[in-house]
């Protein structure tokens, strides 16, 4: 068998398989998704009463104020940026990313504990002091960053730890918040697979609905 024939066979089968797996298959799947599951296929975007998109139920948003249930720390600030100052082009494509800090990396402890430095640029606030200041008993999800930096959830304990602070800030009864947390918890699949998590965006939307911003 000549080399030319072998090569021609390789080229032809590459093209044929390319058409099959890279064109026919994905187009069929996109068409199927758009027709059958349009909500999911477009990113599970939720809208407010006015029909404006407020976020995706699958993607977390940054919350750091006392009035909201805080989400987990994020290395990309949940793919957000001020449109006026978006030099990195975050808003062009969206970003995700993790800290990739090893357990032994001093930077990890610095980030958690905070680090004072004469140079204010180098000083780190630290998640732990921030939480302690706000009177929240720290849980592991609230001090560790997530893998995607877009984690929509916090743990049940992490949410419960924040109840008192939010109740104080908003002047509402803590037991009302407990009910909200339960309603906005995504459980395990079949009660077995995965971990239950409180969807922070949904929870905070419900919180605003209960106690609108003045």
């Amino acid at each position: 068998m000549s080399f030319a024939r072998e090569a021609s066979r390789a080229v032809r089968s590459t093209l044929v398989l390319w058409v099959l797996t890279a064109i026919i298959y994905p187009l069929a799947m996109i068409a199927f998704g758009q027709l059958v599951f349009p909500f999911q296929a477009n990113g599970s975007i939720i809208q407010n009463a006015q029909g404006e998109a407020v976020g995706s139920i699958l993607i977390g948003q940054p919350f750091t104020s006392d009035r909201y249930f805080n989400s987990r720390p994020s290395t990309t600030n949940y793919s957000t940026a001020n449109p006026q100052e978006d030099e990195a082009g975050v808003l062009k494509t969206g970003v995700s990313g993790a800290s990739n800090l090893a357990p032994s990396n001093p930077a990890l402890l610095d980030r958690i504990q905070g680090k004072s430095d004469p140079d204010p640029e180098k000083a780190i606030e630290g998640d732990l002091p921030r939480l302690q200041q706000a009177g929240v008993k720290p849980t592991h999800d609230l001090i560790y960053t997530s893998g995607s930096s877009l984690d929509p959830h916090i743990s049940l304990a992490g949410a419960a730890a924040q109840i008192d602070r939010i109740a104080k800030a908003r002047g509402i009864q803590p037991n009302q918040l407990g009910g909200l947390i339960r309603q906005n918890t995504d459980g395990r699949f079949l009660g077995i697979f995965g971990e239950p998590g409180v969807n922070v965006l949904k929870l905070n939307l419900a919180l605003d609905a209960l106690n609108p911003v003045p």
Partner: protein, 566 residues
């Protein structure tokens, strides 16, 4: 704690149930027996053969098979490389990305054609939809199918049959195994919330501070995703892949992905059992791999569950290490996913391996050095039998006969090929480049974590390349010329040297006369021999990475942040 273990146990139970079904189906496919989709697929395959000029019935010799693998893979790599370099002028480029650097394009093409899917870039900002969907998506299928075809050829040779035709096996792997499973998987994933659109990113004002906007990028994921895991790939669209809530939104999608990663490599062992007409041996080997897999999961799970002692001190209680992990997966699903993905050479991650505890990191490294804790699509199974042959040789003389496997004598040629395969590829293509990189840390390495963990990052990167795994300790700045080129060499060597050796080994075995089994034969389908094999696998596999463990990993538990100022 208990809940986490139950999740792991039930997932593994599902894998156990899938194995004989899928394994039996694959045996029927490659025996050319009747299968469910014949009516649709036979005409499709005929057309593919006619268009590609493949005469599907012609048997290939060992070297013909190897040449077919190499030439077809070369053509695919060149094709994909060309697409990358011209992505600026190709359609489906909403964010207007230009061509990547040539070395990134080269590394990515090689990485995906070798079924490694190691990434030295972040998907969102480097490659367009066209490059990702139409170039990488294509390689997800063909590279996995190449692996399966080689495994089947190897099993055929080992059991005394002719090797078959590479193109026929390649096409059948795609049409009868990968595509059907991918279609089902894609439908399931999109139903569960994985977006499927070609639309541009959506910008929304954030709830807390509307002046800040969030970019939500619901790109065409499931098409890549389902083929990704089944076709053993990483990549995906996002740099973070399966940790991203769009790629892996809940417990069920995670379960589907884990089963997807593991089902083909594990079922191939069963397929071997059917080919060799010795299901007992298949289950014993299966049990051995399963046992090692369980131990690895256990070790990593305990390490993650106990968490980072330095942080636990600050928290005031013992809490799992959640750095780089998602709340919806917790420690147990993250560990299960990590051990599975490194073991099956999948390379998708649902949590960040760089931030795992040292012991878990050692487990992941061990997975890549051994390459058989299920192993890559196809090649993992072939490796497993190469280990078996080595175990037969090392211990077989002790029954007072020339060692034989499946009735065929293990002689010089077999020892040369298996020891090359198992013992030499890794030291040469992991340790040597690592040593070079670490000899010039300032010029070459781009290490992001200090001290011993930095060493592990380098070793992990080359191990991942040579084992065709693809996962990484992603903190490292590896998008440099040095990293792209040096890992490309490890990628190519780690893929094509073993494939060549496996095919030659299989062909040589198939030509040997079969010595009948007598009372004096060393039986390889006994529990004792399987135990011996496990020992050989662990010891031989550990030879390469033990010094690294001794230097880096094993010391990391003692290496606490307060004193690691190296």
């Amino acid at each position: 704690m208990l809940q986490g273990w139950i999740q792991i146990a039930l997932t593994l139970l599902i894998v156990l149930i899938v194995t004989p079904i899928l394994g039996g189906y694959m045996a029927r496919v490659f025996f050319g027996e009747r299968t469910y989709f014949d009516r649709v697929l036979i005409p499709v395959e005929r057309m593919i053969y006619r268009l590609s000029g493949v005469r599907s019935q012609i048997e290939m010799t060992g070297w013909q098979y190897i040449r077919a693998v190499l030439i077809s893979n070369l053509v695919m790599a060149v094709f994909v490389f060309t697409i990358f370099m011209f992505q600026g002028v190709l359609p489906l480029n909403p964010t207007g990305l230009g061509a990547p650097t040539w070395d990134t394009a080269l590394h990515t093409a090689i990485s995906f054609v070798t079924n490694t899917n190691q990434q030295h870039y972040s998907g969102e900002v480097t490659f367009s939809y066209f490059s990702q969907g139409l170039a990488l998506g294509f390689l997800f299928f063909t590279s996995a199918a190449t692996g399966i075809a080689v495994a089947i050829a190897f099993i055929r040779g080992l059991t005394g049959r002719t090797l078959g035709n590479f193109y026929t096996d390649l096409v059948r792997s795609i049409t009868r195994i990968l595509l059907p499973i991918s279609i089902v998987g894609a439908i399931a994933l999109v139903a569960l919330g994985v977006p499927e659109t070609l639309a541009d990113p959506v910008l929304v004002p954030t709830l807390e501070n509307p002046t800040v906007q969030q970019a939500i990028c619901p790109c065409p994921l499931p098409i890549l995703k389902s083929s990704k895991n089944w076709a053993k790939t990483v990549g995906g669209f996002f740099g973070i892949n399966s940790a991203h809530p769009f790629e892996n939104p809940n417990g069920l999608t995670n379960l589907i992905q884990i089963v997807a990663m593991i089902s083909i490599p594990s079922a191939l062992i069963y397929t071997y059992g059917i080919f060799a007409n010795n299901r007992k041996q298949a289950w014993l080997i299966y049990g051995m791999v399963f046992g090692i897999y369980l131990v690895f999961i256990g070790v990593a799970a305990i390490a993650e569950y106990q968490g980072n002692p330095a942080v636990n001190v600050l928290l005031g209680s013992q809490q799992p290490n959640l750095e780089g992990k998602e709340v919806r997966f917790g420690w147990s699903q993250s560990v299960l996913y990590a051990v599975t993905t490194t073991g099956t050479m999948c390379g998708a991650v649902n949590s960040m391996h760089d931030s795992f505890m040292p012991l878990s990191g050692a487990v992941m490294l061990a997975n890549m050095f051994l390459q058989i804790i299920w192993g890559g699509q196809g090649t993992g199974t072939a490796y497993l039998f190469a280990y078996l042959i080595l175990a037969v040789f090392v211990t077989g003389l002790m029954v007072g006969r020339t060692p034989e496997f499946l009735g065929r004598k293990i002689e010089k040629r077999e020892v040369v090929l298996t020891s090359l395969l198992i013992l030499l590829v890794h030291p040469i293509f992991i340790l040597i480049p690592s040593a070079i990189t670490l000899a010039f840390p300032d010029q070459l390495s781009g290490i992001s974590n200090p001290g011993f963990h930095g060493l592990s990052q380098v070793i992990y990167e080359y191990a991942s390349a040579a084992a065709n795994n693809g996962s990484g300790f992603e903190g490292m700045g590896d998008a440099t010329l040095w990293w792209n080129l040096s890992t490309s060499i490890s990628l190519l060597a780690g893929r094509y040297i073993p494939i060549t050796a496996l095919i030659l080994l299989a062909e040589g075995m198939s030509r040997k006369p079969v010595v009948p089994v007598t009372a004096g034969t060393l039986r390889t389908d006994t529990g004792l021999f399987t135990g011996v094999t496990a020992g050989v696998i662990l010891i031989m596999g550990a030879l390469t990475f033990f010094p690294v463990l001794a230097l880096g990993r094993s010391r990391k538990p003692f290496k606490l942040p307060e004193e690691s100022n190296l």
